[in-house]
């Protein structure tokens, strides 16, 4: 299935776009999304373990299952304030 991932900051800069569609297996988890994102944007691989994800605007653990309707966002380490 295809999911869309919102990208911010260094992830957006690395991809050159502010969201990206990636192919993941049915019943894919956040961990699968991370792998597929890094495969699609290899420049992010050194950052892979630092990337958190949000599903429907809430932080989501690696085991959370996503669907094509999920609002998925890649959250690199935050630096607000």
């Amino acid at each position: 299935m295809i999911v869309r991932v919102k990208l911010f900051a260094v992830a957006k800069q690395a991809a050159g776009v502010d969201s990206i569609e990636i192919e993941v297996p049915e019943q894919a988890t956040v961990a699968d999304v991370r792998r597929a994102l890094v495969a699609a944007v290899p420049a992010l691989s050194p950052a892979a373990k630092f990337l958190l994800f949000a599903v429907d605007a809430e932080y989501a653990g690696d085991q959370m299952v996503v669907t094509p309707k999920s609002e998925i966002a890649c959250i690199p380490p935050v630096s607000g304030g």
């Binding site: 800069q13 991809a15 966002a73």
Partner: protein, 159 residues
């Protein structure tokens, strides 16, 4: 009250909002654009956020602070967009009957905001380079990714 804004933060409005007769103490914290960081000179910052999630997180911080301390009012604002030196990027305003709670809650709010709210800053260094700031990740990954010293607006190396 919590919100994101692209306009300068109106500190008077925040102070008016939290200054109530039940309070005896008001603490306002402002995070401002600092010129020097580890010896490097900044000329400006850009802030980007994930608005839907950032506002939800700010609301959660407000609610959690009220659970932890006897607060009268809480106001949290984060600015997004382009900021010049000495402009405020974030404001935390709290009021409480007594000052201990106001100081403790204000400190906890800014500390926790900086750890959890999906907002990012991009340094515009005086040498003309820009850099997204990602604690734990800068100095290694940005460099590894070839993203350090990127020109403003330029994408990093694409696959």
């Amino acid at each position: 009250m919590s919100r994101l804004t692209r306009e300068p933060i109106d500190t008077q409005e925040l102070l008016r909002r939290v200054t109530v007769p039940a309070a005896g103490a008001v603490v306002l914290f402002l995070g401002t654009v600092r010129e020097l960081t580890a010896g490097r000179r900044t000329v400006a910052l850009d802030y980007e956020g994930y608005p839907e999630m950032a506002e939800r997180k700010l609301d959660e911080l407000d609610a959690e602070a009220r659970r932890r301390w006897p607060l009268c009012e809480v106001a949290l604002v984060h600015r997004l967009g382009h900021l010049e030196l000495a402009e405020a990027s974030v404001a935390v305003a709290v009021s409480s009957p007594h000052r201990a709670a106001a100081f403790e809650a204000g400190r906890w709010l800014i500390d926790t905001l900086k750890e959890t709210v999906p907002v990012w800053k991009q340094e515009h260094w005086a040498d003309g380079t820009t850099e997204w700031v990602h604690p734990g990740l800068n100095g290694d990954v940005n460099a590894d990714c070839g993203l350090r010293n990127a020109e403003p607006g330029a994408g990093g190396p694409l696959p």
